[in-house]
């Protein structure tokens, strides 16, 4: 008589056999004492392992684990907010550069004959896109109270493109300075 294989016995106990295979194993076990003995040995292992109780931890491991955790430095992961900020910074720098570069006079450089070209002309070509904003004008204010004959002083305010450039650049410098101060304070707080 052919005996059951190790695989059949184990998979039967692990409940991995389909119904017909299970029935075949059970039918064989009913007739074969050797396979029944092997099965009982395995069933004992399953039972003993299944009933083995948990060992009790003698003390809380948390304090010792926390003591050796690496001190968390500012986790600088690329979040959406950070990516947006970096995008704004990059865009601001490009825009500022486009505004400022045409104003800078580059000296004409002498190159060997074969490579003679005008640096300024090169930049002019590269930055041929004009970034000009319309001039902004605020409305005139004139307020007249008949009874008291008061007049609020009027003011005309015109913003040229250069003013805007300088304003944005100043705001950018303030933003960078503010972040550097915050970063330094955070590092000092963690020490």
């Amino acid at each position: 008589m052919e005996h059951l294989t190790e695989e059949q016995l184990n998979e039967y106990l692990d409940r991995l056999l389909d119904e017909s295979a299970c029935q075949a194993v059970e039918a064989h076990l009913a007739k074969c004492a050797d396979c029944r003995a092997n099965m009982e040995g395995l069933e004992l292992v399953f039972a003993e392992l299944g009933e083995l109780p948990e060992a009790q931890l003698k003390h809380d491991l948390t304090p010792s684990i926390l003591d050796v955790l690496p001190q968390q430095t500012t986790a600088y992961s690329l979040t959406r907010a950070l990516a947006a900020q970096l995008g704004v910074v990059a865009g601001t720098l490009v825009w500022l550069g486009a505004q400022l570069v045409p104003l800078i006079q580059f000296p004409q450089l002498e190159f060997p004959r074969l490579l003679t070209f005008d640096i300024r002309a090169l930049f002019a070509r590269l930055l041929s896109i004009q970034f000009t904003l319309p001039q902004l004008r605020f409305p005139d204010f004139n307020y007249h109270l008949a009874a008291f004959d008061l007049r609020v002083p009027t003011f005309n305010f015109q913003l040229s493109t250069m003013h805007l450039v300088l304003l944005v650049f100043s705001a950018f410098l303030l933003w960078v300075a503010g972040n550097l101060i915050l970063l330094r304070r955070r590092r000092e707080a963690r020490k």
Partner: protein, 182 residues
């Protein structure tokens, strides 16, 4: 603890919240310690292994899918830590070789009830198994993994895992047959 609150703790721990991580340690340390104790058989070694497992988990939290349960992942890390420890302890022998019976993990004058003796005997026989066999027994019987999951966890072919498991069970069956009727 509900999966949602554990997931929330894990999310906070992944961002560096040590208080959240400490809470996760308290929740899972018993289970992690038991994996280590079953694999190593010594209280101090098991505590060290559990500690190292948690430190590794903290380090690699950002690579873990926070929507999945944490316990299986922690237990797998612990198992790998234990296998590395066993390999380091016995560099001249492979993870396949049978080991001599371990020293009593609970030395000292303690009243040994019959039940306690039986438990100690079973633990001792598990610890006598080669580390690789111990690992498959741990994953199948104590972590309820399927054969293919064990193969993936141990990075071994399915056929090799089945062969190790069946062999490990057979060894245990032979060594524990006298325990029948106790």
């Amino acid at each position: 603890m509900s999966p949602a609150s554990e997931s929330d703790l894990a999310r906070r721990a992944a961002k560096g919240d040590q208080a959240a991580f400490a809470e996760l340690v308290r929740i899972h340390q018993q289970a992690v310690y038991n994996v280590a104790f079953r694999m190593l058989g010594d209280v101090h070694d098991a505590e060290d292994a559990a500690q190292e497992a948690f430190l590794r988990a903290y380090k690699f939290f950002d690579s873990f899918d926070l929507e999945r349960p944490l316990a299986p992942w922690l237990k797998r890390i612990t198992l790998n830590v234990c296998l590395n420890h066993l390999e380091a302890e016995r560099p001249d022998s492979s993870l396949d070789n049978d080991l001599p019976p371990p020293k009593d993990p609970h030395p000292g004058p303690e009243a040994q009830t019959a039940t306690r003796q039986r438990e100690e005997r079973i633990r001792a026989e598990i610890l006598r198994l080669p580390p690789r066999y111990r690992a498959v027994i741990e994953l199948r019987h104590f972590q309820d993994m399927r054969y293919d999951e064990i193969a993936q966890a141990l990075k071994r072919p399915l056929s090799a895992v089945k062969s190790d498991l069946f062999r490990a069970r057979k060894l245990l069956a032979e060594r524990l047959k006298d325990i029948r009727g106790q």
